[in-house]
């Protein structure tokens, strides 16, 4: 059995990742789980300059879901290289840096800077967040416009030799449009989904719970939506699709793989139980064994 996944020039040893924004920069979970066990760590988004994030409160629980409005709070690319990269360099799992910015040039700036400072080749790829519903510029607006998606992908592909994974938003009429745009721009993979735009109102205060009004919905509530999107995306592009959204169990992850995903990410579930990611990987391996599937491609042969 070899469940490794090739994305661009990088081979990821197994199909499991932990999703951006839910695992910090790895060190936060170091004492709880063996980071060597997870395949790929997708970092919190890195932007050119440090960002304080949105007003508080930033998260609220909904029925089987989590609505967040973190606002890309992060230390910025310089802080990342100084404070986070050295620890990440010590890990045996793969590291993919999630990148965000206010405009295409900011994305390029981050990728260029990180490439230059990643002297020991810690970073195995970039996941480009064009789908954050919690910031004004960049983010969602960019991700819903196929022309911009294609141009940004092309720009970043020119900037780095490392794999470029475009992270798609589910807040679109037809996810295959930005997916194909990313492919046309030369993306090495797409990942989907980011969060769904959602809102909760506090009826006693008579205002939205999140000061920003809307936030991004994640967690098991969104799983069926994510699976349908991954299914459609996998039929629209030939590059690998990374499936995520609501994974709580190995069965969910296997559903993504059967639907056509080549890899998966566990997000919100890390908050629920930091063990879940590793359990999911074990479960995928067990399923592959029981069902006699020896490669990720084998998962793709059952559902049309």
């Amino acid at each position: 059995m070899d469940l490794s996944v090739k994305i661009g020039s990088t081979t990821f040893t197994n199909p499991l990742g932990v999703a951006s924004g839910t695992f910090g920069y790895g060190s936060e979970y170091e004492k709880l789980i063996d980071l060597a066990e997870i395949g790929t760590l997708y970092t919190k988004a890195v932007t050119p300059r440090p960002r304080p994030g949105n007003s508080i409160p930033r998260i609220i629980e909904t029925a089987s879901g989590l609505l967040n409005s973190i606002g890309l709070a992060n230390v910025g690319m310089v802080g990342f290289v100084e404070q986070k990269l050295p620890f990440l360099a010590t890990l045996s799992c793969s590291v993919v840096v999630n990148v965000a910015g206010d405009d295409p040039d900011e994305y390029r700036e981050v990728v260029e800077y990180l490439d230059r400072h990643d002297t020991v080749n810690t970073i195995k790829g970039y996941e480009v967040n064009i789908s954050c519903p919690n910031v004004k510029c960049g983010g969602l607006a960019l991700g819903t416009d196929p022309r911009q998606v294609e141009q940004l992908t092309r720009l970043l592909k020119k900037t780095t030799d490392k794999p470029i994974i475009m992270k798609l938003t589910p807040n679109v009429t037809d996810i295959t449009v930005p997916a194909r745009a990313a492919e046309a721009g030369g993306a090495d993979a797409v990942s989907c989904i980011n969060t769904l735009v959602g809102m909760v109102i506090d009826t006693s205060l008579k205002k939205t719970v999140l000061p920003a009004g809307t936030g991004g919905l994640s967690g098991p509530a969104v799983f069926p939506v994510a699976l349908a999107m991954v299914y459609r995306t996998a039929r629209a592009v030939t590059i690998p699709v990374i499936g995520l959204g609501g994974i709580m169990t190995a069965d969910h992850a296997v559903q993504f793989l059967l639907a056509g995903a080549s890899a998966v990410q566990v997000g919100t579930a890390n908050f629920v139980d930091p063990n879940i990611a590793v359990d999911v990987l074990r479960g995928i391996e067990k399923y592959a064994e029981t069902e006699r599937l020896t490669t990720i491609q084998d998962f793709h042969t059952f559902i049309e």
Binding site: E28, P52, P57
Partner: protein, 252 residues
């Protein structure tokens, strides 16, 4: 910070809607006052997130929390019985700093803030703390759980027990200018803010333990941010806190 394979030992009501739960703590890592733990109340997805609770006591392999039944997670906790397993991660967060100089520690608790304050009172018993415990009304005071042999002032908003007024009213009445106090507060935000203002006026130091909805509880998600004066303007309750110097906080 570790996964703790805890088991419920005891789980009793200590006041109206308040419960005290004790559970085994099979770990070398000893929790200290101010720290908290998170519990996954159910294997299902409602409630979804782990819930944070402060330690209210620790002796010798047995940890405790005092909690209020508020919503789904705490209702599930309240129904737990002896020997049931408890999915715990902890200890998390920073601690109440033990007073170093000669000042008198004055510990102020309200609402769900009583747990960590009681724990701290026991911990610094030798420093002769003064304990001020407030509630809306008598029935909400967990008299049995209060540490014994420590000078304690009770206050109720409706005057049904002890001092008639808020805990900060107690501070104002009790304080005299030659007192050398160090304040420690845990409770609802308005109480913390009033405590901070009292401390600023009287120029005494105050430590506050804050609450904020948590995602990861380990510093990864930036969800539990509160406004602070330094740095980028936010600090994480789960990591930089829950205990803060009250002057660091941007009170609103």
């Amino acid at each position: 910070m570790k996964f703790i394979d805890a088991r419920v030992i005891d789980n009793v009501s200590v006041a109206e809607e308040y419960y005290e739960m004790s559970f085994s703590w099979p770990s070398e890592e000893t929790p200290l006052p101010g720290q908290f733990l998170t519990i996954r109340a159910s294997d299902r997805t409602t409630p979804l997130l782990r819930r944070p609770f402060a330690f209210s006591r620790f002796d010798d392999g047995v940890a405790r929390i005092i909690y209020q039944k508020r919503g789904d997670a705490t209702a599930i906790l309240a129904a737990k019985t002896r020997d049931e397993p408890l999915n715990v991660v902890g200890p998390l967060g920073n601690i109440f700093p033990v007073p170093r100089d000669s000042g008198r520690p004055v510990l102020v608790a309200g609402g769900v803030g009583i747990g960590p304050i009681f724990f701290f009172a026991e911990h610094i018993r030798a420093h002769n703390p003064l304990l001020v415990v407030g509630a809306r009304t008598r029935g909400l005071l967990p008299a049995e759980s209060c540490p014994h042999g420590i000078e304690t002032v009770y206050a109720t908003d409706d005057g049904s027990f002890g001092f008639h007024g808020t805990v900060v009213d107690v501070l104002k009445t009790t304080y005299s200018t030659d007192d050398n106090w160090i304040l420690y507060l845990c409770g609802p935000e308005p109480m913390l803010k009033a405590g901070h203002e009292f401390a600023t006026e009287r120029r005494v130091p105050a430590w506050v333990s804050l609450e904020q909805t948590m995602g990861c509880a380990v510093g990864a998600c930036m969800g539990c941010a509160v406004r602070v004066t330094g740095g980028l303007g936010y600090a994480r309750v789960c990591t930089e806190g829950p205990v803060f110097d009250s002057r660091e906080i941007v009170w609103t």
